[in-house]
Amino acid sequence: MNTVIIDYKAGNVQSLLFAIERLGFSAKITSNPDEISNADKVIFPGVGEASFAMNSLRETQLDLLIPVLKQPLLGICLGMQLLCKDSEEGDTKALGIFDVSVRKFPDSVLVPQIGWNQIYDLKSDLFKNIPEQTYTYLVHSYYVAKNESTIATTDYSEAYSTALQKENFFGVQFHPEKSGILGSKILENFLKL
């Protein structure tokens, strides 16, 4: 199987690669459109700032490629947020796969949310053999409200989407590569889809 991790200068791709390798899989870090198009699985990571990340995608025209991909794609953290319509972070127009806006957490909670929080109402093969209320690691200031594509929910200021799915596009707000053994299992579930 041929997995690629999209490299667009926004994110900690190295730790994701190590997590995949610990599962006995391999992956290639690339920004090459042909390699991405021909992959069996695509991972779209992201740690960073939304407008900077979108600019990087536009420079390499990956913003045009990602929405037309047909193989399973997993957006992680900022990667998931960039699959949405737009983001309040840097007033950024995003890729528009999920028809929902990314908003900032209100001041009634600590922002960013940093740490381990529980996911529930798990709805996809991505969560095969993952118990309800599993703790996952989250680090984010912006969030996606619940919508028709929500496949996992977490409570922080409100019940919001910690995972999304529409056709071949998956997104997780948490970091599966940093969420212990069960996080690795979620990553493995994606790689085995």
Partner: protein, 250 residues
């Protein structure tokens, strides 16, 4: 519910984990990669690595070490020590660090906080503050606690938040290494003053100390070193204790 975090801290000098008392008298306590694996398996919620090497040799050992740690653990980790430019941050993140922490460089060049936050996001920008109560004031110290700055703790923390930091690692130099408990007073005041997470550090000696800092302050993480390094308190034991006190613990 968001869980309270238990965070072992590894001070790194020339590639080895060391530990001092009140920032002095360093002793070697073990191999950082082996310790990271152990803590990760025991249920630590995060790890912090602070490179306190005094020499320029430090970069040569730090980057391969970061990479080796990233290869071997599946929980997040923060790296700090000697970071003073955007390039240093990029290099650490590229090699597997999840967050970076700056201390002295934030004091000498506060706009670095904003630059890192803009480039990599606030969530990876942890500002460490070392503070000591002197002449009736909580003063901020730089250079590993060696130099007293003009800054007062609470105004500096507020400024750091405004500049874009995502988290504050607050170390009380008065309690660090003493095992007399976290500095509840300043941790409480600070965690109520700002709206970003605060990690309390310095002084953990008993399981009760962790309970106190989580119940009496709004800190969401508690960091400790020697009690874990010297097996005085096991992480599973500590987490079971805190769960039994109805604290949200993973």
């Amino acid at each position: 519910m968001l869980a309270k975090r238990i965070i072992p801290c590894l001070d790194i000098k020339n590639g080895q984990t060391v530990k001092g008392v009140n920032f002095l008298d360093l002793k070697e306590v073990g191999n950082p990669v082996e310790m990271a694996i152990k803590y990760s398996q025991q249920g630590a919620d995060e790890l912090v690595f602070l490179d306190i090497s005094a020499t320029d040799e430090r970069r040569k050992t730090l980057i391969p070490l970061v990479k080796e740690i990233a290869k071997n653990i599946n929980i997040p980790f923060t790296v700090g020590g000697g970071i003073n430019a955007l390039e240093n941050v990029e290099e650490l993140l590229k090699n597997g660090a999840d967050k970076i922490t700056i201390n002295s460089a934030a004091l000498s060049n506060p706009k670095l906080i904003t630059e890192v936050a803009k480039r990599f996001g606030s969530q990876c920008m942890v500002v460490a503050i070392d503070t000591k109560f002197v002449r009736n004031q909580h003063k901020v110290f730089s250079n590993g606690g060696k130099i007293e700055t003009e800054n007062e703790l609470f105004s500096w923390a507020k400024e750091v938040e405004n500049l874009g930091a995502g988290e504050i690692l607050l170390t009380s130099m008065n309690t660090d290494g003493t095992k007399t408990g976290f500095a509840i007073d300043i941790t409480k005041t600070l965690s109520e003053l700002i709206n970003i997470p605060v990690i309390a550090s310095g002084g953990a000696g008993t399981m009760q100390h962790f309970e106190d800092v989580f119940t009496e302050t709004k800190a969401t993480g508690a960091l400790a070193a020697s009690i874990f390094h010297f097996n005085e308190i096991g992480i599973p034991e500590l987490k079971n204790y805190l769960k039994s006190k109805n604290l949200p613990i993973r």
